[in-house]
């Protein structure tokens, strides 16, 4: 039904896609996988006729015999939303903030002249019910909905006219695991119900393995391998596919060096925020962290998992001594942790975030960025440049990188700079807050290897915070599961994953997509 043959694309003369070919039949799900920059999204936008200015496509992308690449803009407007629907990665920004959700779903019908005003609203209501929003009013605005609900609204707007092809570009990447599982279920159900074709674009092989009938693997603008999902994932014929699969389940070599000595500990920590203002009074206070106790031993990797809003970030800020706690105590190397702790104790706990670019001053050179934490000791040591160079080499960069600016590096390299900056004060504890979540799988595998290596060399303890259960499972010794401000389960990582005791842990593990490679 959809047949893409020899699709090539150049933007201002730079080739982006090279001879991409694939087909999707009605009722079929095609997984389009690849790392960032491989051309997945550009392929989708080419089908939609929504390419950026300066893009010149060649080849054929046929929808039931009609070449979309040759269609006029007017014809494409008639097809978009009607025959081809599309949803995007970021549900938080994909909806117009000043118009109601009912309006935005009904608009698909109105703009194609498929229904009158009242009829369009009726169908919009039905479609919202069908995507699982039967309890949500049509007159709600996007900001009143959660991320998962907003993605459902986007799906409703995309499928309201029963398109023959739905393109979903990383539809669950920005969502929590349980929400992700629900959205994927919904998409699967719609495909089965309506017999539409689904083109699922994702970087996550595990998502594809549970969803797609067939898969196409892209690298650098080319489809390097395609075929039936199980066959491709189990017996990849292309080296790149094999590398992706290995990287997804990558298990870094770690030396077991955990001692029983606690380096960081928290006892019954409570962090509350004042409740929302209601007129002159305030609502009940919010207990973001509710009686959390934890111990991190020297040389140990402790995982902290939970969904957004569970209190992970608040707990992290308290452990870093950035915010005061209302009850309980936190100790680092035996001394209390808090906003007024001495700088040498602060130097002993450092953090690496998901997106280091935001924390780099773009006008500073790497040498200055990495040396910045020295201010905790008052003055920079005399041999600071030597120390920075040594640390850059330790994280796999080179001495010559000191004179470069952050924008000259790739995402993975920037994360290495962030790690070097965190380690320059020789801390005992490194907090990794979603530190590998934004990285492509192969880069992620390299960073995880680096972290394992550094842990052995510098005797570090890691607090590894992530929503990605498979990563936590592969790199931590113990894991804590957090829900609504409380630690609901804690234990040896393997034990928690194989025999979860708490219902919430079980639901998290069940929701997480897994790359099943064991032959059926």
């Amino acid at each position: 039904m959809i047949g893409v043959e020899g699709l090539s694309l150049a933007i201002h003369g730079t080739p982006i896609l090279r001879k991409v070919s694939f087909g999707i039949a009605p009722g079929e799900i095609l997984g389009l996988v690849g790392e960032s920059g491989s051309g997945k999204s550009m392929t989708a936008l080419a089908l939609m006729g929504l390419l950026p200015p300066g893009a010149v496509p060649e080849g054929v992308a046929a929808l039931d015999g009609e070449n979309l690449l040759a269609a006029t803009e007017a014809r494409l407007c008639a097809l978009r939303g009607n025959e081809i629907g599309m949803i995007f990665q970021e549900p938080m920004t994909a909806l117009n903030p000043v118009r109601t959700i009912g309006d935005q779903v009904a608009e698909t019908l109105r703009v194609h002249g498929a229904a009158g005003k009242a009829e369009a609203r009726r169908i919009a209501r039905e479609t919202l019910d069908r995507v699982g929003l039967s309890k949500i009013g049509m007159d709600r605005y996007p900001h009143e909905l959660s991320g998962g609900q907003r993605q459902r609204v986007c799906i409703a707007a995309a499928v309201a006219l029963h398109p023959r092809l739905l393109i979903a570009d990383e539809p669950t990447t920005a969502l929590d695991v349980t929400t992700q599982a629900q959205i994927l279920d919904l998409l699967k159900g719609l495909v089965a119900e309506q017999g539409m074709a689904l083109m699922l674009i994702t970087h996550d092989l595990a998502v594809v393995s549970g969803m797609a009938d067939r898969v196409a693997v892209m690298r650098a603008g080319e489809v390097v391998e395609r075929g039936e999902t199980n066959a491709v994932l189990r017996r990849p014929s292309h080296a790149y596919t094999a590398k992706l699969i290995e990287a997804s389940g990558h298990q870094p070599d770690r030396d077991a060096l955990a001692e029983r000595a606690a380096v960081l500990s928290a006892e019954a920590v409570v962090r509350t925020y004042p409740g929302a203002r209601q007129g002159l009074t305030r609502g009940p206070e919010v207990r973001a962290v509710d009686g959390v106790s934890l111990t991190l031993h020297r040389g140990e990797s402790l995982g902290l998992v939970g969904e957004s809003g569970c209190g992970k970030s608040t707990l992290t800020r308290a452990l870093l001594g950035l915010e005061p706690v209302q009850a309980g105590r936190i100790t680092l190397n035996g001394g209390p942790v808090g906003p007024d702790m001495p700088t040498d104790r602060r130097a002993a706990i450092q953090v690496v975030f998901q997106d280091p670019f935001g924390s780099f001053n773009p006008r500073w050179r790497v040498a200055r960025l990495v040396a910045e934490p020295f201010h905790l000791f008052g003055a920079r040591p005399a041999d600071w440049r030597e120390q920075v160079a040594g640390m850059l080499e330790a994280v796999g960069l080179s001495r010559s990188d000191m004179e470069k600016f952050p924008h000259e590096f790739s995402g993975g390299q920037r994360q290495r700079i962030a790690i070097a900056r965190a380690l320059i004060t020789r801390p005992d504890v490194l907090v990794l807050d979603e530190a590998v979540s934004a990285l492509d799988v192969s880069i992620r595998a390299q960073i995880l290897d680096l972290l394992a290596d550094l842990q052995g060399r510098f005797g570090l303890s890691y607090l590894f915070i992530s929503h990605d259960l498979s990563v936590v499972r592969s790199v931590t010794d113990r894991v804590m599961v957090m829900q609504a401000g409380k630690i609901v389960e804690e234990g040896e990582t393997e034990r928690v994953f194989t025999a979860p005791a708490h219902a919430y842990t079980r639901s998290l593990i069940a929701a997480a997509p897994r790359l099943e490679l064991i032959s059926a």
Partner: protein
């Protein structure tokens, strides 16, 4: 929503209080005794003192402040030292010129600027955009009083379509509108240039948003996406500028009113200052402050109507 309005209202009241204190204090400290000024150089100290008493200038600072504020609240703005008529009467007369002029200029600038901004934003990188941006640059660079004089030269002196200045009065509404047209155009040109630029940059930013892509994926044409989705989102910064401009047009048309000999608020204020008619200056300034604050308040309400996310606050 109610809480938001309540908060806005409180800040409105506080702003007025602070403004009245500042205005009163400034008028107190500027040099020049109105009584001495009115009586000329040859007046004796005694006559000056008598006039001061008559004008109510001899009370204590605090009591005069409260007299002034109390009068304002009850509609008694005092009596002009030079015209010898109630200030309220003067102000009302002049408002019938200044308010229509400001509105006229605002409507002209909006009507011109909105389409220009929308066209420039939706035709990025084309000759149309370059042309519009060049035009707005020119509009910003040309001083409005000079442009006003140019208009007078062309339309009054050479073509003799309209009179060069003065105000015909509202007895003949058409004549009144005609006599306000050239001043309104001179006032509107720089305002339109600013507004068009703000509209363009706000729209350009909005057009880059994800929801515009979503709208296009639903099958909306570019034009539909701009009109249905981008415009309202781009309106917030535009509203801010619009409110500032209206305030400016009300209070800041002194120069243009002088160029066109219009008996407006600006000229009243100007004459009040040159003749040391402090009670006029004081009251007119305060009234303008009230107008500006009221307009800002209206703009705050307009934000809430434009953006539902503000309604929760």
């Amino acid at each position: 929503m109610l809480r938001y309005l309540l908060g806005r209202f409180t800040s409105l009241g506080l702003s007025l209080l602070v403004a009245s204190l500042v205005i009163f204090a400034v008028i107190e400290v500027i040099p020049g005794d109105p009584a001495a000024f009115m009586l000329g150089l040859n007046a004796t100290d005694e006559t000056v003192a008598n006039l001061r008493a008559e004008l109510g200038l001899d009370g204590s600072v605090v009591s005069r402040y409260f007299d002034w504020i109390g009068g304002m609240l009850t509609g008694d703005f005092g009596t002009s030292y030079t015209y010898r008529v109630p200030v309220a009467e003067l102000v009302v007369d002049r408002m019938w010129v200044s308010l229509p002029l400001a509105l006229y200029a605002l409507i002209l600038s909006t009507v011109v600027a909105f389409p220009l901004g929308v066209i420039a934003a939706s035709m990025r990188g084309t000759a149309a955009e370059v042309g519009i941006m060049g035009l707005t640059q020119l509009g910003l660079a040309v001083p409005n009083f000079w442009f006003g004089m140019l208009l007078v030269l062309v339309f009054a002196v050479s073509l003799q379509w309209v009179s060069a200045g003065g105000f015909a009065g509202w007895d003949d509404p058409w004549a009144a509108i005609v006599s306000l047209t050239l001043p309104a155009i001179s006032l509107a040109v720089p305002q339109a240039a600013i507004l068009a630029r703000v509209m363009r940059s706000a729209l350009v930013e909005t057009l880059g948003q994800d929801y515009i892509r979503t709208a296009r994926a639903k099958g909306l044409t570019r034009r539909q996406a701009v009109l249905r989705h981008a415009l309202r989102n781009a309106l917030i910064p535009v509203l801010t500028i619009l409110a500032l401009q209206f305030s400016f047009l009300l209070a800041g048309s002194i120069v243009i009113e002088n160029v066109f000999f219009l008996p407006g608020i600006g000229r009243l204020l100007f004459q009040g200052i040159t003749q040391r008619d402090l009670i006029v200056v004081e009251s007119v300034t305060m009234l303008l402050v009230v107008a500006v604050i009221a307009i800002t308040f209206l703009a705050d309400i307009a934000y809430v109507i434009a953006d539902p996310r503000l309604r929760r606050r």
